[in-house]
Amino acid sequence: MSNSTTTDVDLVGDEVTLNIARAALFAALMGAFAYVAFPYPLSPAPVTLQVLGVFLAGLFLGPVWGAAAMVLYLVAGAIGAPVFSGGSAGIGVLLGPTGGYLFSYPLAALIAGVIAHRGIGIRSLTEASVTRLIASMTLAVAVIYGVGVPFMWWNLDMTLQTAIVTGAVVFIPAEAAKMAAAIGIIRSDAIRAE
């Protein structure tokens, strides 16, 4: 053992501690959402709450800590936490066909947060108009698919057309339902996070 003294201990500030705890819990919640699938009539693939988790990270934790939570989620999954779709894990998933969607999560959370909070800081979400919230989520979805589809195109060596059909068109109807659910939650003031 090294003989460390109390003067060596570098304490984490109170506010940062709360933010680290929230970011970690949010990342774990994203992982737990991977196991919850809803059958959705318009979409051939089951709908999970994960993309919704990306919006909500940006909205509730703010752009910086929301993006940090997503980075934690990816790193934890890469080293073996069963947090990716269907409870899988490992660097292989990040380099697999769906890796692009996962890599885009931190950026999408950042963008959703910056637009909803009008900058890097955190403002009360009740001040944000519905239009602003919809804009923030639409851009986040655009980022997720904008990174995810080309990645799949490259990864599986398919034509762009096939990539767009298998990687985006089949999932789009469900995204609208998720945005509606997210706005319902934020507007209802049901979350006691602020």
Partner: protein, 235 residues
């Protein structure tokens, strides 16, 4: 489920950093040599890695079954045309899909042979400064709280199932589940941060010592050769 299992295999005794290097090198080589010949060699290497970590290939494949639809869809959709199935169109997506499978096998071996504490120490020693410390502690917390939050969600779902909540529309069910699970997660985060502060939560806790040993030399050599081969293949 595929997760860390203590053991005495060679892969268990390696330093996590050399295992990460091998994984990265293997993935790079797989993307550089996506040819039938390259993939045959990489398949043999992947099987060697699995043997050295005493991990059964079928367990890893079963773990990653969710990727199979994507892997199959690419060659099938590319091959189908109005004149029937064109094999030449399906070949390169099929090779690409197989390459992903090999990368998953090697990643599975890492997961089975590396403990969370070791991975955390490897991250914190590889990424310098506050970002590395944040990633190290945060990843530890994610592992700690994942089962707790999964149990929370399970209880919430049991609750609404018993009240016939399953009869409601999908958006309403999503909203109920999200509100309840987010509230619980934030409550837990508040209590957790209080507990951390009470225990002098610091940026620099004592980490397990990581030390390269003699058996890491061939592993690091193997990883570097894979990386160099990948660079050579791309150039």
């Amino acid at each position: 489920m595929l997760r860390y299992e203590p053991g005495k295999s060679i892969a268990h005794r390696l330093d996590p950093r050399s295992k990460l290097l091998v994984q990265g090198g293997f993935a790079a080589a797989a993307f550089a040599y996506t040819t039938p010949r390259g993939l045959v060699i990489l398949t043999l290497l992947a099987l060697c890695v699995l043997a050295l970590s005493r991990t059964a290939p079928h367990r890893v494949l079963w773990e990653f079954r969710f990727v199979f639809p994507f892997l199959l869809a690419a060659p099938v959709l590319e091959g189908i045309s109005l004149d029937g199935f064109v094999i030449s169109d399906a070949t390169s997506p099929a090779l690409a899909s197989y390459r992903v499978l090999l990368v998953l096998l090697v990643a599975g071996a890492y997961i089975r042979t590396t403990s969370v504490r070791d991975s955390r120490a490897a991250i914190q020693r590889s990424v310098p400064g506050r970002p590395g410390q944040f990633l190290g502690m945060g990843v530890g917390f994610v592992f700690r709280f994942l089962p707790v939050l999964r149990a929370d969600i399970g209880r919430i779902r049991d609750g609404y199932r018993s009240r016939l909540g399953t009869e409601r529309s999908v958006p309403v069910r999503m909203r109920i589940l999200l509100i309840a699970s987010l509230n619980r997660a934030f409550e837990r985060a508040d209590r957790f941060s209080l507990a951390l502060r009470a225990r002098c939560f610091s940026w620099n806790p004592t980490l397990p010592t990581l030390r390269f040993s003699r058996i890491d030399v061939p592993a690091i050599g193997f990883g570097l050769v894979l990386f160099l081969a990948a660079v050579y293949g791309f150039v």
